[in-house]
Symmetry: C2
Subunit: 582 residues, 2 copies
């Protein structure tokens, strides 16, 4: 038996107990006559003591040769600590060691195994197994497990069945790029790894499974933007005989339950907003509503003067930054530089200081008088002391730019409190979006999303105005879930394919098995999928997902620890009937 | 709202309630003046009634046009059923329908959606979404979910953390064939899909995760034997600071818990048997101990006469088949034919009938007298009325043959009761096994399995005799779990690689990251993995796993429903820098 207790377990009430502990050497404080060694395991830290008075000379000397991260087993007696450490759960006691066994030696780790480490991202990833020893990473992984357990318990109690769908499926040209897997037994053919179990969960509904969920890995061979992973985890859900309201109800319940159980945060009803409203008010379909700075559209009160920039713009839109009237010229110039960065892309920014005395000072005083600016303040809700930032241009672009500015300012002002949680449903997404490159409409969600029945007539006349029975769950400015009511009858599905530019033959080749299934009694159904990595990170109070994934890949899709992907044998290629084409 | 109740829910106490139900048409019994329609959902069946007296003519007529598997919604009143059906949970009531909506029509399904279907395996797989509507499949999938939930609850309560390990990893030439995934971003390189998360779970132990588990998909590109799948699910577990006994304790606990919670079967301590004992007694390292027919080795009592076949054999071994002395010559000849099949491969079989009067009648009476045969009976435990079946030959081969015969006979005698559960630990597996083809020793488990410390000295002299700290959990003649204590120090690991014929360079190239990790303080650790598909099937009282997998592949590794694998675009191949080589 390697241990009688864990390293996080012993308390004052255990004093005088003989114990056996095993763990890693965290710290050594060797004063010569006395040597304190702190050992660590998953459960905590315990201080060991070796000293000239009470420890055999030989044992003391051996303890002095220990190094950081050595794996040791000790036997000894729990004694009261002289200088107690109230910050350490075991801080009332220490172990007077009588036996020391080195289970494994360790080289000096390439970075310190402490909460604040000296290791950079790259070295931490290469030695991820050492990084996981650090509390921030270890706790994030344990937190992830806890969230997964709660999700499963909630959904299982609500009658959902977790069904494992296959990983070796079929490539479809729609959507993002698939990872593919050459088949040895079926020469020249390939499996694809699923981008999501979408069609399988719909087939499970056709199969009468009624309520399905799965916490499942999905795969997308995309050029990786920051904080995206080629393999990621989804909470995938589908229900039969439901309308949108049923789905929102169940998954609002799940999210509320997680916030309550895991964060102790009680939230009653989640607010809802249409896609149009979100775009108009926040310039974004996943607004962070933890703070204000709602958009004020100024066209009516800014396009009546000689200022050509505004007069030529499709949209003049502004936010009021609280308390920022005191910004210096230099600070404001920095903001202007920020919105001009290519990543944001604004040409410039007009600003209005709302002085404490009720007067206004703007960068366009040449064109606008105090009455004009007062109307701007009214429209944006600016109060004395605020700074109004105004952007103008093509509506879609300028909304994106102002949204970026709003988020940046919120970050700088500390308004994005990670311990505050503001969920929001965004509903009534457009069914189709126009793609400039291919000059045709694409499904915004996917080709199985149901249009709102009352909008179907618009498909022929104004396809861009057709709304879908589609919804996103947004948490703190992140889309954590999205889904839709699906089409379940072949007529509507055929209509959709037609509007998406598929010939019936193309539709059949790509989605034949699903369309076949629709012939045999498909129930009305719909679902949702949550990005589990992101959900866990946000609940954990973080913006980046990487520390919530045990072995993440870098931005080139590489696992630098195991050095994958890698070359494979010629023999292997031959068996798979492929060759390299570099 | 599509329904107020499910189709399995209504009882006599609901009589007079107005309800809304949705589901599939299961059966129609149309007598003209009255039409009974049974509808089905995941939760059960409910009978609807339409009749001339109480139903509008138009509604009755519409009900008469319904077809099997139509998806309908009805509103109506719960009424008492005249002829109650005690075999149906809702059999006390029926619904007098007032409104009928056809939600979706259905073509006639290609096989009947009944417990006993007229559909063969192939058609059921092609239309798996219809097959899943059948109770035996649906219930198997729901059962699987229930087992998974119980496994997670047990392990989580025992302090295990479920950690998701990556699916896109690195190919290693050891073990079975990998499925590989070409990387677009890393030209000419490939990921591999994991055959198991073995190295990652060991790294998690190095990382201090202490107790890990995962219910996880694994992949092996093997030529498929019956009832094997290219993707399968494992309960994968690993613990640090443990000895073999700790692991057996925890996972015996898990298995006992599942048997208790799910089957209501109480089993105290699981029996244990060494590998050598299992081979000697049952000719098999996964013996089914629900029944006897233990092997009796007859060399000492059968090699003293002139019967050359036995005298030349390395092993003469027999089982006593209970009550089979009454077999006719024809029945015995059939048994002999059975052991001679190429799949079994015996050259012949000697038999002894143990007559009720205490005499013996054998096929080798020419060589052996009653005293000889009495000794055979004693050695095999044969009683009056039994039939002794004797095989002879090379020890390893003949044990396998007799084991096959033992299982076949047990099957025929109905001794393999699927509702009886007989778990067994098989321990002390050999560390190495000799491979005839490559003429060298291979790791029987994997190269990280720890030899028993007391056997290490034998590595140089008698490598085949070195025992491993490796164990299998056997249930009803199936290996449901297997694992080992791992090597955790670099010296032993280097020794092992040396004995397996790896040069240090080869070892580093293939397992460098794990060997590196061992330099930084690896704790003693070990683990186990359960074949989840098999475990669920056995707990569900079945021998085949296919109905416990939602979308299984056939023996060519094809999903015949979605028709995968399939050809992919030239464009896709080009992006991946590969071309076909057929």
């Amino acid at each position: 038996m390697y241990r009688s207790h864990s390293c996080g377990e012993l308390r004052a009430s255990d004093i005088n107990t003989e114990v056996t502990l095993s763990g890693w050497v965290q710290r050594i404080k060797d004063l010569g006559a006395i040597n304190w060694v702190v050992i660590r395991d998953r459960y905590g830290l315990t201080q060991l003591v070796f000293d000239q008075e009470r420890t055999e000379q030989n044992l003391l000397e051996r303890s002095q040769k220990l190094g950081r991260e050595f794996v040791i087993q000790i036997k000894g007696k729990v004694i009261e600590r002289e200088s107690k450490n109230p910050n350490m759960p075991t801080g009332d006691i220490e172990i007077l060691v009588t036996e020391l066994t080195i289970l494994n030696e360790a080289q000096t780790p390439p970075f310190t195994i402490e909460d604040e480490t000296d290791g950079g991202e790259d070295i931490r990833m290469k030695y991820r197994y050492l990084d996981i020893r650090r509390d921030p990473v270890k706790n994030s992984l344990m937190f992830r497990h806890q969230v997964a357990m709660q999700v499963r318990n909630y959904l299982s109690n609500a009658g959902f069945i977790e069904v494992e769908t296959p990983y070796l499926i079929k490539s479809t040209p729609e959507g993002a790029r698939d990872f593919v897997v050459p088949s040895r037994m079926n020469e020249g053919q390939f499996y694809a790894l699923p981008q999501s179990p979408q069609t399988f969960k719909q087939l499970l509904m056709v199969g009468g499974m009624d309520k399905y969920f799965q916490i499942v890995k999905c795969f997308r061979d995309e050029d990786l933007r920051a904080d995206r992973q080629p393999e990621f985890t989804q909470i995938d859900c589908e229900m039969a005989f439901v309308e949108q309201e049923d789905i929102l109800g169940i998954f609002e319940g799940l999210t509320r339950y997680l916030l309550q159980e895991i964060k102790g945060v009680t939230i009653d009803e989640f607010p809802r907003m249409t896609y149009d409203e979100a775009m108009k008010t926040y310039g974004n379909d996943k607004p962070d509503i933890r703070f204000g700075m709602k958009f004020g559209e100024l066209n009516a009160v800014a396009q009546h003067k000689e200022f050509k920039v505004f007069n030529d713009a499709e949209l003049v839109v502004a936010i009021a930054v609280p308390g920022a009237a005191s910004y210096t010229r230099k600070e404001i110039d920095k903001l202007i530089d920020w919105v001009r960065r290519p990543q944001v892309g604004a040409l410039g920014m007009v600003y209005v200081k709302c002085n404490e005395d009720g007067t206004y000072k703007s960068s366009v005083d040449k064109f606008y008088d105090q009455d004009d600016l007062a109307k701007w303040a009214e429209t944006t809700g600016a109060k004395a002391g605020d700074l109004i930032c105004v952007l103008s241009g093509a509506a879609h672009k300028v909304r994106g730019q102002l949204s970026a500015l709003r988020m940046e300012i919120a970050e700088r002002l500390g308004l994005r409190n990670p311990q505050e949680f503001a969920p929001l449903w965004v509903v009534d997404f457009p069914l189709l979006e126009w793609d400039e490159d291919t000059e045709r409409y694409h499904a915004m969600h996917h080709p199985f999303t149901s249009p709102k029945p009352e909008d179907i007539a618009l498909l022929d006349t104004e396809p861009g105005k057709v709304r879908a029975n589609a919804y996103d769950l947004v948490l703190n400015g992140n889309e954590i879930g999205g889904g839709s009511i699906r089409i379940h009858d072949k007529e509507t599905q055929a209509l959709m394919f037609d509007h998406l530019g598929f010939t019936p033959e193309e539709a059949k080749a790509q989605f034949g098995f699903l369309m076949d299934a629709f012939e045999y009694g498909a129930p009305p159904h719909g679902g949702i999928a949550f990005g589990f990595d992101r959900l866990v990170a946000i609940l954990g109070g973080q913006e980046t997902i990487r520390d919530f994934i045990a072995f993440p890949k870098n931005n080139s899709g590489r696992d630098v620890m195991i050095d994958a992907p890698a070359d494979i044998d010629k023999e292997q290629l031959k068996e798979l009937n492929i060759q390299l084409d570099l």
